[in-house]
């Protein structure tokens, strides 16, 4: 069941990439993306808040200050709606130049077998990468890896710790 939903989301993302339809961009009301936001190297944005149009170092600074840790539900690798929006900032920064790179690392909580969790962490990192790719990031700009359950952010053994460990991080 869950696998089918993930497949549907993945297919939807893939389709939106090909059709140029910004399936998730519509949720963002603060920046106006052009409808053909898939054009490489010429994404126009207006800034978030009062900063106006950003580019270059300002955009880089903004990207680096933007939330870069994204959380997942247990056993799931579906990117949350609100995170799709946040990822746009990262995508904008990366779309500026194809020489810019990001490293996405997926993690899980400690439950389940270490090997399955290594694969699940990778799946989460891939889900984040796919969102970025629908927004202009090129495949070659992203490195995807997984730490599985081996590098928890929180050391506890209860849901509050586990929730903090089920994550993917975008690192520059």
């Amino acid at each position: 069941m869950q696998s089918n939903v993930v497949k549907l989301v993945v297919v939807a993302i893939m389709m939106s990439t090909f059709t140029g339809c910004a399936l998730f961009g519509k949720k963002d009301t603060t920046s106006s993306k052009t409808d053909d936001g898939q054009t490489q190297g010429s994404v126009e944005t207006s800034g978030i808040g009062e900063s106006g149009t950003l580019s270059g170092t300002a955009l880089e600074e903004q990207a680096k200050k933007t939330k870069n840790v994204f959380y997942f539900d247990f056993d799931k690798s579906i990117v949350k709606d609100e995170d799709q929006t946040v990822l746009q900032t990262h995508a904008q920064y990366l779309a500026e130049s194809s020489s810019k790179n990001a490293h996405i690392i997926g993690h899980t909580d400690e439950r389940g077998t270490p090997e399955y969790n290594l694969a699940l962490g990778e799946r989460r990192a891939k889900a984040i990468a796919e969102v970025l790719q629908t927004q202009g990031t090129k495949n070659g700009q992203l490195t995807i890896t997984s730490y599985g359950e081996e590098a928890p952010a929180a050391e506890g053994h209860d849901e509050s710790a586990w929730a903090l460990n089920r994550r993917a991080e975008v690192m520059y």
């Binding site: 696998s3 400690e110 389940g112 077998t113 270490p114 090997e115 399955y116 290594l118 990778e122 490195t143």
Partner: protein, 461 residues
């Protein structure tokens, strides 16, 4: 058969706990971080046995106590405390059988050690059957020998423990008809320190947890140790070249390392073919995690799975005809079976919402696995023919089961007060041992194979 019998600590165990524990304490107390064995539950039906300290064994100490510990840890024998022994014979010809019979002893092990030049020692043991010794003899008939088994060895002092384990196995096999595992090794990963000072170690210890040696150490994660079938190599996952996740093969005798898989993406979950020539691997180089077979000599890759789902944790059947692996193609992780001859795959597990890390027992009749029911992860065993599943453990985060080469005991990782420790449970769930580490976290145990021939120990006859 009661798979979850909660054996209460027997009175004999409590009574002998003091003296036995004192004996055990002597070689358990250790300034270094070694595994410590505690038997938390045992068979009520463990067979009474006495292991008399060998005459002259002091230079090899501990010796007879190692044998007693091995037999006790099997869960099938209950050693008599030293202070209950009516005598300490060194020869079966000098034994008072009635005295032993009164204590309910069926078998007694006795022996003697004689020093030889150049730190060599002659060791002789006898396994004595008390009832045979008491059998009335016809007049003028030759009394049958009460000795079931006897052997003489010449060893160097440094091989004393090795010999003790070998004697344990000989006795175990004679009395149970089963292969003993006292001479086997276990590998495991231990994590020392925290955060900035964390070190990962791949360690190899005797099956009783003693004599651990560090085979590899790294500031970065080590995972999934897997013994080659001949016991000479261990394959494992290393994050040493992060962000690469690679599979390495280390030759234990020399420490030499070969990187056998370093494709883009994950390279993980190594599993040896029964002939030791191939490794099943999980690789995500083609888009997502799939199972592949790597020929170690030619480096040729054969792809086994073609599904968008997570596929990992492959394990070979002992006859090499199949693989089992974990896949969530059905929505949640379950164990599937792939047949090389037909190329077909079918699902094997149906109970619980998570089944993973499947491992065949050495006769191929069962698989042990991690099974989740009601949010709790347990070690479980499933019979291949009937599909019947039995849960063996009752703590909450049990994982990484590894079955002993005689199919009788399972080593696994669990948490006690949040700390990673190793535990063992017998295949029928009755005997439980815990192996707490004094420092750091221990996980991912892998039980080594039966050693072929024991070097340094030669029978003199």
């Amino acid at each position: 058969m009661n798979y979850l019998a909660r054996e209460s600590v027997s009175k004999i165990w409590i009574a002998s706990a003091c003296s036995l524990a004192m004996t055990l304490m002597l070689f358990f107390s250790n300034p270094h971080a070694e595994l410590v064995i505690e038997i938390t539950r045992g068979y009520d039906s463990a067979r009474p046995i006495a292991i008399v300290p060998f005459e002259g064994e002091a230079p090899l100490d501990p010796f007879s106590s190692v044998i007693a510990n091995d037999l006790h840890r099997s869960g099938r024998f209950q050693p008599l405390p030293l202070d209950k022994m009516p005598e300490r014979p060194a020869r079966s010809s000098a034994m008072n059988f009635e005295g032993w019979q009164k204590l309910g002893m069926e078998h007694v092990i006795i022996g003697r050690v004689k020093p030889l030049p150049f730190q060599q020692f002659q060791v002789i043991f006898e396994l004595v059957d008390i009832y045979k010794g008491l059998k009335p003899v016809e007049p003028n008939a030759v009394p049958p020998s009460p000795v079931l088994l006897s052997q003489e060895f010449i060893i160097h002092a440094s091989n004393a423990r090795k010999l003790a384990h070998q004697i344990s196995d000989l006795i175990y096999e004679k009395l149970t008809g089963e292969q003993g595992i006292a001479s086997t090794k276990i590998a495991y990963v231990s994590m020392i320190g925290s955060k900035a000072t964390k070190e990962y170690r791949l360690e190899v210890a005797d099956a009783d947890g003693f004599s651990p040696r560090i085979a590899a150490r790294s500031a970065r994660t080590i995972m999934s140790p897997a013994w080659s079938p001949d016991g000479t190599r261990i394959a494992y996952v290393s994050f040493q070249k992060w962000p690469k996740v690679q599979v390495l093969v280390q030759t234990l005798a020399t420490g030499t390392l070969e990187t056998v898989a370093s494709y883009p993406g994950l390279n993980t979950a190594p599993a040896w073919s029964p002939d030791g020539k191939k490794l099943a691997l999980t690789l995500s180089k083609d888009g997502n995690t799939e199972i592949y077979i790597l020929d170690l000599a030619t480096k040729a890759l054969q792809r086994i799975t073609h599904d968008e789902a997570i596929e990992t944790e492959a394990n070979w059947s002992p006859d090499g005809s199949q693989l089992i692996f974990t896949s969530d193609r059905g929505g949640s992780p379950q164990i599937y079976q792939y047949h090389f001859a037909t190329g077909t795959t079918q699902r094997v597990t149906f109970e619980g919402d998570y089944n993973g890390r499947g491992r065949f027992t050495s006769d191929g009749s069962r698989i042990i696995m991690v099974n989740r029911q009601k949010g709790q992860f347990h070690i479980a065993v499933q019979e291949m023919e009937s599909g019947a599943l039995f849960t063996l453990t009752d703590s909450t985060f049990d994982e990484s089961p590894s079955v002993a080469p005689n199919g009788r005991m399972i080593l696994y990782a669990t948490k006690q007060q949040g700390k990673g420790v190793l535990s063992a449970v017998s295949i029928d769930g009755r005997v439980k041992l815990s192996l707490p580490l004094q420092e750091g976290q221990v996980r991912e145990p892998a039980w080594g194979p039966i050693p072929h021939g024991i070097s340094g120990v030669s029978p003199s006859l």
